[in-house]
Amino acid sequence: MIEVEHLTKKYGELVAVKDLSFKVDEGKIWGLLGPNAAGKTTTMRILTGYIPATDGKATVASLDIFEQSNRVKKIIGYLPEVLPLYPEMTVLSFLNFVSEIKQIPSSQKKEAVDKAIGISGLESVRGRLIRNISRGFKQRVGIAQALIHDPQVLIFDEPTQGLDPAQIIETRKLIKSLKGERTILISTHILAEVTQVCDGVVIINEGTLMASGSLEDLTASFKEKEGVAVKLRKEGKEVLSLFGKIPGVARVSLEDDELKIEWAKGKDFRDEITRLIVEKDLGLIEMRPLGIGIEDLYIRIISGDIEQ
């Protein structure tokens, strides 16, 4: 549904997005994940036609976003990072205005506005000035304006920013409920948001693609190696070599008084290890599986461990 190919955006000297390619399938929620200044907002602004790209190509519903920008704009609902609200308007008059510039025929206008108000839970504030409603309601008005023309594709830039925990949960629920016939791309720098809401993820850092794919695929592909971390009362070189002697174990290492025992994917040596611990009376304190998932990857990206 959304296809991005070799997209590049330069602001003068600064390269905000660098040769970015990814794909979002129809009817799925995809997360655009990355730390601050990763290029998430820039990517979304290009997709929605707010700014052009320096290079590359992108299509939405097989329509070229640069060549057929007007048709693309009709099928995209966009929640920008900064809410585009007019504080002196009422919620209702604002949504009426949006319905007009989104080219909803006047005969269907009222229905469309009412529906958007209903979905976003704005009934209680429909007559109030936007200036006077709370941040959470403003965010909902932002979502309502994105939904008003019943678009096939939704692009939400950090939809839960600035909300309290209860509202975050509610907004995530709302986004999930919008899935189905719609394809959704949300940006966030919170991994939990992706794992709770999304089917897939595109991870970018400094404008460059780090990883992309469905959550299952990604988690699977990162688990090339499996293993356990073991904490023992007994330590020392002999202990290390003891586990290294188990046939099939690829690597044993000592990190922060934890033994890391790794082996190739598909095998399982947990039984052998436990037996060894009991036989040699090594004093087990803790044993847990080693996670080498997107969580680790993302943390390493944010902490700057991985350079490009």
Binding site: R45, P80, Y86, M89, S93, V98
Partner: protein, 255 residues
Amino acid sequence: MKNIWAICKKEIKTYFMSPIAYVIITVFLVLVGFFFYPLIWWFNSQSLQLAKNPYYYQQLNINQMVYSPFFHNMSIILLFMIPLLTMRLFSEEKKRQTDELLFTSPISVNQIIIGKYLASLFVLVVMLLLTGLLSIFTFVFGNPELAPVLNGYLGLFLMGAAFIAIGIFFSSLTENQIVSAILTFGALLLFLILNWTSPSAGGMWKDVLDYLSFFQHFNDLTRGILDTTDLVYYLSFIFLGLFLTHSIIQSRRWR
């Protein structure tokens, strides 16, 4: 067309839902009235004095004695008021980042510009119509010629329309409304006094400066004359202002 109307309606609502339009219109009317009253008073006293002398009495012309300076005053007041009217048009959208909504909607940049332009034009028309109330007074108690008065208003409208086009251009340049207003005011004032330098410039340049200056076209306007050169002059200003606005907006986004 519908898109232009949607934008225009929103802008007019914004003008009248906030105090901007009321303040501008009120201040404009107070100033205009303030200048109008002494003109009438002077004309009255002249008529009373000259009533004994039929020859001079015939020479008294309300169009020349009242309307000519009246239009002149109004155009100067407009020069102060229009920058305040246009300063928010694009600056405010950019500052609040509501332009992101406009430019990601299926409407063209031209439609947005024209919609906003027409909204300001509407406020200008309201302003001018309200000053028309003062004129009713002269028609009831005196007998000015109607045609030059209407012509003068048409000229004033065209001039205001040109001012607005220049204002909308400067509004697209900056997200700071104050800066936008100052630049507009500066540009308008510069065009007004452009011909002051023309005596020192020779030959063709003198003609060019004279032509470009508002003053030249002002004078025709205040006498209630509107010929095609003036019309072309104002229309080119409008076109140029809107065209440059479009270029600026496109280039900002394409950078």
